[in-house]
């Protein structure tokens, strides 16, 4: 469903080029719960951003349901993100002036869904993330874990094809991180939504069905719970 071919990304700092990705080839199938691991600077976040159409590659291609995202205009990319991609950020990135309910409603408003349909979906989603009693709270009235649950609800409520999560547990304590991972895994299984996330967290090994190891902008390991294939 997501195919990455020979992906390169260079960052220019002053006159010096820093290669962040050096020829990544990947295929993410529908319904996977895949973690990308690797040290800082290995290219995890860059890869997620390019797959999510938030950033553009220097070279190579990303196919999203066979659509080459390189050829999309910024408006078409916005629409792709609006309809098919959910994001979960390390710093939650909820809109502070909106309540939990409104934050989850935001992507649905962009899809022009009817008010009853929105309400039905939001309440069901908040129920699933266990925050039905927090609908009127603003982000600053919630804990980090609760905020991340709202962010997960916001990412999933529009029923995206894929959820991209960049270090979703990095700002959480280990217990909360475990809860969040368990929740994401549960939602992955229930909704068959593909999850692709970057992480440093060792806990992830307990949950991920596939672990992609990145180092210096290259895939150095791709581990499946059923099949282990080291590319080193």
């Amino acid at each position: 469903m997501v195919e990455v071919r020979n992906l390169h990304k260079d960052y220019k700092v002053g006159k010096v080029l820093f290669p962040a990705l050096r020829g990544i080839d990947l295929q993410i199938e529908d319904g996977e719960f895949t973690a990308m691991v690797g040290p800082s600077g290995s290219g995890k976040t860059t890869l997620l951003n390019i797959i999510g159409c938030l950033d553009s590659p220097t070279k190579g291609e990303v196919f999203f349901d066979r659509i080459n995202t390189n050829q999309l205009s910024s408006k078409e990319k916005a629409r792709l993100r609006q309809e098919k991609i959910g994001f979960i950020f390390q710093t939650f990135n909820l809109i502070p002036v909106l309540t939990a309910y409104e934050n989850v409603e935001l992507p649905l408003l962009l899809l022009n869904l009817s008010s009853p349909e929105r309400k039905r979906r939001i309440l069901a989603m908040l129920e699933e993330v266990g925050l039905s009693d927090f609908i009127n709270r603003r982000p600053n009235e919630m804990s980090g874990g609760q905020q991340q649950r709202i962010a997960i609800a916001r990412a999933l409520v529009k029923k995206p094809n894929i959820v991209l999560a960049d270090e979703p547990t990095a700002n959480l304590d280990s217990n909360t991180a475990r809860d969040i991972l368990a929740l994401m895994k549960e939602l992955n299984q229930r909704h068959k939504t593909t999850f692709l996330f970057s992480t440093h967290d060792r806990l992830v090994m307990e949950y991920a069905t596939r672990v992609i190891n990145l180092r210096d902008g290259k895939v150095v390991g791709d581990t499946n719970t059923n099949r282990i294939s080291n590319k080193t």
């Binding site: 916005a78 993100r81 994001f87 809109i95």
Partner: protein, 407 residues
């Protein structure tokens, strides 16, 4: 609705900052409205004073008089005013006609002697064209031929009061100096500096006698039935022929209204500067709003918001703050203007010792120009939107990743 809702909430994210910005706009706009009302009032008052005390709606001179009006040439006068008045009776649109004799002369109270304008007025008919009889603040209007009216400030300067003797010295038509004693019978306050500070009024027959011009007059002042003077002026000119010249009150005071136009432009410019300073306030507020929310812009982009939607959100924010400021500014400007219209500003204390040229009273009353008020409101509104657009446009075009990475 989503975009407006977000914008509305964002405005109240920093309520104090938004209110201060709106106040800055409102101060600028209310100053503009207030200034406009005051200038309208001053102009209207000046026009009214000129018509009520100096010229009437139209003035007829003998041909060539106006060219030398500043010298008050008594050899270029209307010799037979009554026949002219009779001729003009057939013209529709004339309410009344009164003769006047104006000449430059010296007056003396026995101690001081100064040069003033002497105006000979028709005791019986003056009130038909001018409001001079109503301007008597002390004593009474002219009844006998040796009586004289004097402006309040001139009387004060010369230490004159009711009953004081005053000698008018003038050179007559034949070049000989003649003098006549008068008794101050009334003190006038018209609001027109020409009459209040530089003129005395005497009966017309006394003036004619002093100048030895028999029944001659220097001008005929006309009160018209309507304010449309073009046709009336043409009709009178046609009737009287080339021996006489007809002028409207505005033509006779063109320089004053030129000054008024310049003053108005300058004061409006001043108010505009205030609005521009307020606009800088909006720039500052919107810049802060944008810079502290770059990451949030990135998040919205990640959720699928287009550049246009994000720009619209900020434009709404600018519109809400600017609209609120414009509304409050116009409202306060209007309230201040209402005060000006009803009570006016009393400047008599400030200006009693200053001789100003502008023919206005020292209590300045305003005149509200509603179309201009609407324009000022719309102007404030538009400038808020424009500066918001210029401020936030660049940031809303950032790549999502650049916005998300912004710290």
């Amino acid at each position: 609705m989503l975009i407006f809702n977000l914008a509305w909430r964002n405005v109240f994210r920093h309520t104090r900052r938004s209110i201060i910005t709106a106040i800055a706009i409102s101060v600028g706009l209310s100053a503009m409205v207030f200034m406009d009302t005051m200038m309208n009032g001053v102009d209207k008052m000046a026009q009214q004073n000129i018509i009520d005390y100096e010229t009437g709606n139209l003035v007829i001179f003998a041909k060539g008089y106006y060219r030398e009006e500043g010298f008050f040439p008594i050899d270029t006068i209307i010799e037979n005013p009554q026949s002219l008045i009779n001729q003009l009776k057939t013209i529709a649109g004339i309410k009344a006609i009164v003769p006047r004799v104006k000449f430059q002369s010296h007056i003396s109270n026995g101690i001081d002697e100064i040069s003033v304008l002497v105006i000979g007025i028709d005791k019986a008919d003056e009130a038909k064209v001018f409001k001079t009889p109503k301007a008597v603040v002390k004593g009474s209007f002219l009844q006998n031929s040796d009586e004289l009216l004097i402006g309040e400030f001139l009387a004060r300067d010369l230490n004159l009061t009711i009953g004081s003797p005053l000698t008018v010295i003038a050179r007559n038509r034949y070049g000989t100096y003649d003098a006549q004693d008068f008794i101050v019978t009334g003190i006038i306050n018209t609001g027109h500096p020409l009459l209040d500070r530089n003129a005395v009024l005497i009966p017309i027959e006394a003036a004619q006698n002093l100048l030895a011009i028999e029944n001659g007059v220097t001008e005929l002042a006309i009160k018209s039935q309507s304010n449309n003077l073009t046709e009336l002026k043409a009709a009178i000119s046609q009737k009287l022929g080339e021996e006489y010249e007809v002028y409207t009150w505005r033509e006779l005071n063109a320089s004053i209204f030129e000054i008024s136009g310049m003053k108005r432009a300058f004061q409006f410019l001043l108010a505009l500067v205030v609005v521009i300073i307020a606009a800088v306030g909006i720039v500052n507020t919107m810049l802060m709003a944008v810079m502290e929310r770059v990451t949030e812009i990135g998040t919205l982009k990640a959720l699928g918001f287009s550049n246009g939607k994000i720009l619209k959100m900020f434009l709404w924010e600018g519109t809400i703050i600017g609209g609120f400021g414009s509304l409050i500014g116009s409202l306060f400007g209007w309230l201040g203007s209402l005060y000006l219209v009803i009570y006016g500003i009393d400047l008599s204390g400030r200006f009693k010792d200053i001789n100003i040229v502008y023919p206005i009273k020292f209590i300045i009353k305003g005149e509200i120009n509603y179309p201009m008020m609407l324009f000022i409101f719309v102007f404030g509104f538009c400038i808020s939107i424009l500066v918001t657009l210029l401020t936030v446009r660049r940031v809303t075009r950032l790549e999502p990743i650049s916005a998300l990475r912004h710290l």
